[in-house]
């Protein structure tokens, strides 16, 4: 009886201390996430909710007016919205595959070298990514100088191409931004690809050798399928970034000439901070978010079906 009593008490004490410990743990857990949680609440969750509300309003500092779907309707009616979407799509659809393919080829080329040389090239390609976008866009602006003495114009004259007004003509403005974006984003992709390439088990190559495959066959049938998850990751993140791009167009062309380089990010910025139509800007931003979400899910589904091993 006594033994039973003690055992019981012992159990009770254990339970109590465990409960206390759990309580303590819970307390600390909440304490640890308190500040991040507050930051998200104030600077992310609240703005999202507020954005949805504002998109149905005509924003005024002292009491906004409820206007229903008017902001969405005027967005869908404006031809500039479609033009911006088209520009964004063109920019993304051209930049992303070129950048990914180029960085894949360069990464395969870097692979046979010693570790020291590998990191030298990694550093060299990555350096433009760490220079500030503002500084780089200044430099590129001068590379694209429209005068005959401009740098790129001097280069193309050497190949017998006539003088171009790179950023000033609607024919070449978008192409100029795309070239810049491809070179700026190269380094990051290369580093990610090399990490993926180094993770491939060399026995795959040996097996391919025994089957008598050539170098190109190995790249096509061994390497490319094996780095597919990396390619998908890069594709999705680059597309999302491409859809959100704002800074380059804003600093380089300001959206011109004739809105040839106005992309969704810039369109929303102008709506909000140039014309101060906050309601419509919010409506456009939400539409953009929906488009990005649909695209990301679609791309993810599509590529998930495609993986075949």
């Amino acid at each position: 009886m006594a033994a039973f009593f003690y055992k019981d008490r012992g159990n009770n004490i254990m339970d109590n201390t465990r409960k206390k410990k759990m309580k303590k743990e819970t307390f600390w857990a909440y304490a640890f996430i308190l500040i991040p949680l507050c930051t998200f609440m104030v600077f992310t969750i609240y703005p999202v909710v507020s954005s949805i509300i504002t998109s149905f309003q005509d924003y005024k500092p002292l009491g906004s007016e409820w206007v229903g779907f008017a902001n969405y309707i005027s967005t869908f009616k404006s031809s500039l919205f479609y033009k911006a979407l088209k520009n964004t799509a063109v920019y993304t659809v051209i930049t992303v595959p070129i950048a990914i393919l180029m960085s894949f080829i360069v990464s395969v080329m870097i692979l046979p070298f010693r570790k020291g040389i590998q990191s030298f090239f990694k550093g060299a390609f990555y350096l433009p990514a760490i220079a500030s976008g503002v500084a780089m866009s200044f430099v590129w602006k001068w590379i694209y100088d429209p005068l005959p003495s401009g740098l790129l114009n001097s280069v193309v004259r050497f190949f017998g191409i006539e003088n171009q007004n790179w950023l000033g003509s609607s024919k070449t403005a978008m192409a100029s931004l795309i070239i810049m974006a491809v070179f700026a984003g190269l380094g990051q992709n290369i580093i990610i690809y090399i990490a993926a390439l180094l993770g491939i088990d060399p026995t795959y190559y040996e097996a391919a050798d025994i089957d008598g495959s050539t170098f190109l066959q190995k790249v096509r049938y061994v390497v490319w399928p094996l780095v597919k998850p990396t390619t998908i990751f890069l594709a999705i993140t680059s597309v999302i970034n491409g859809f959100q791009s704002f800074q380059t167009a804003y600093l380089m062309t300001g959206g011109g000439p004739d809105n040839a380089t106005t992309m969704a990010g810039l369109l929303i910025f102008n709506r909000a901070f140039k014309y101060f139509e906050y309601g419509e800007a919010c409506a456009q931003a939400l539409l953009l978010a929906v488009i990005i979400a649909i695209f990301a899910v679609f791309q993810f589904k599509l590529s998930a079906n495609d993986v075949e091993y």
């Binding site: 759990m22 743990e25 600390w28 857990a29 640890f32 996430i33 500040i35 991040p36 930051t39 998200f40 104030v42 600077f43 969750i45 703005p47 999202v48 507020s50 504002t54 500092p61 360069v106 692979l111 046979p112 070298f113 990191s119 550093g123 390609f125 350096l127 760490i130 220079a131 500030s132 976008g133 503002v134 500084a135 200044f138 430099v139 001068w142 401009g150 070179f183 190269l186 380094g187 990610i192 990490a195 390439l197 993770g199 491939i200 060399p202 050798d209 025994i210 790249v219 998850p229 999302i240 959100q244 704002f246 600093l251 910025f269 919010c282 931003a285 939400l286 953009l288 978010a289 990005i292």
Partner: protein
């Protein structure tokens, strides 16, 4: 390297020829990508008087620091822009490392009611494009809280980013729970566990987080541009833009400014290259 060498192949000269060709192509490409940076740096040593018809020489003809002097004389706040950037980026980085690792630890190793829900909230918040939040955030900070031209406005929205909490959580999950359990049995309190056990075990990931955060914050343009009206409170990136619009013809001083804004990052990069490169691949490559 099995991709390039065939099994049992012994012709050494072929390998050398191949490597030379590859190196040549790679160097050509590297020259193209590095060219804007080279151009920026050499142009910054030109004389500030070379306005208008700027000379596009690829080899510097004269070496002078006048353009740098011009840059610092241009606005009485030129130096302050850099200090502002340092302060904002420094505080943001410090806060991110501390708060993100605390929250990451809580999500990774502690059980508490609402744990899954809050983490889900975090993931959702990470997916939202910044365009959605920019307008309400601007209204909140500038119109409601009246924080325009303050350090609080520059720092607060990025005090802890969702991405960093996520990163910390992912890494801390891989730490052995047994170590933490035994510390608990020894009577170690939770904050002490984070400070004495979790953080020392994850120095690399914390360094990576610090560097990527600092880099991002130093180079950020959009938010400081929105909330800083007075020149006094601008960061270097915003100040730089100011500068270009006021005086588009002063090419060399503009490049001097660009070099000044990029230089701290280059120095950081060359001294801590390993962490920078790790910062790119973290979360991207599995296995």
């Amino acid at each position: 390297m099995g991709l390039f060498r065939r099994y049992g192949e012994k012709e050494k000269y072929k390998e050398i020829i191949r490597n030379v060709i590859l190196a040549a192509v790679l160097i050509c490409l590297a020259v193209i990508t590095l060219f804007p940076i080279y151009y920026m740096i050499i142009s910054s040593f030109g004389a500030p008087t070379e306005a208008g018809g700027a000379s596009y020489s690829l080899i510097p003809k004269s070496f002078s620091l006048d353009s740098y002097k011009f840059f610092f004389d241009y606005s009485e706040y030129s130096l302050r822009w850099i200090l502002n950037s340092m302060l904002v980026a420094g505080v943001v980085t410090l806060c991110n490392v501390i708060f993100a690792s605390l929250a990451g630890y809580a999500f990774a190793k502690l059980r508490f009611p609402g744990c899954k829900f809050f983490f889900f909230l975090l993931l959702v918040a990470m997916m939202i494009p910044y365009q959605v939040t920019q307008v309400p955030l601007y209204i909140l900070v500038v119109n409601v809280l009246k924080l325009q031209d303050t350090y609080v406005a520059l720092i607060a929205p990025t005090l802890v980013t969702c991405y960093n909490v996520f990163l910390a959580k992912q890494f801390f999950t891989s730490l052995p729970t047994s170590v933490i359990e035994s510390a608990k049995i020894e009577g170690c309190s939770q904050p002490l566990i984070v400070w004495k056990i979790v953080m020392p075990l994850s120095k690399t990931i914390l360094a990576v987080m610090a560097i990527t955060t600092f880099l991002g914050e130093w180079n950020t343009f959009f938010w400081p541009f929105l909330v800083c009206n007075s020149e006094k409170m601008q960061t270097i990136q915003v100040g730089l833009k100011n500068f270009s619009f006021a005086n588009t013809t002063y090419f060399a001083p503009m490049m001097a400014g660009a070099t000044i804004s990029a230089l701290p990052m280059f120095i950081l990069f060359f001294s801590l290259q390993r962490y920078f490169l790790e910062g790119v691949t973290v979360g991207a490559v599995k296995g």
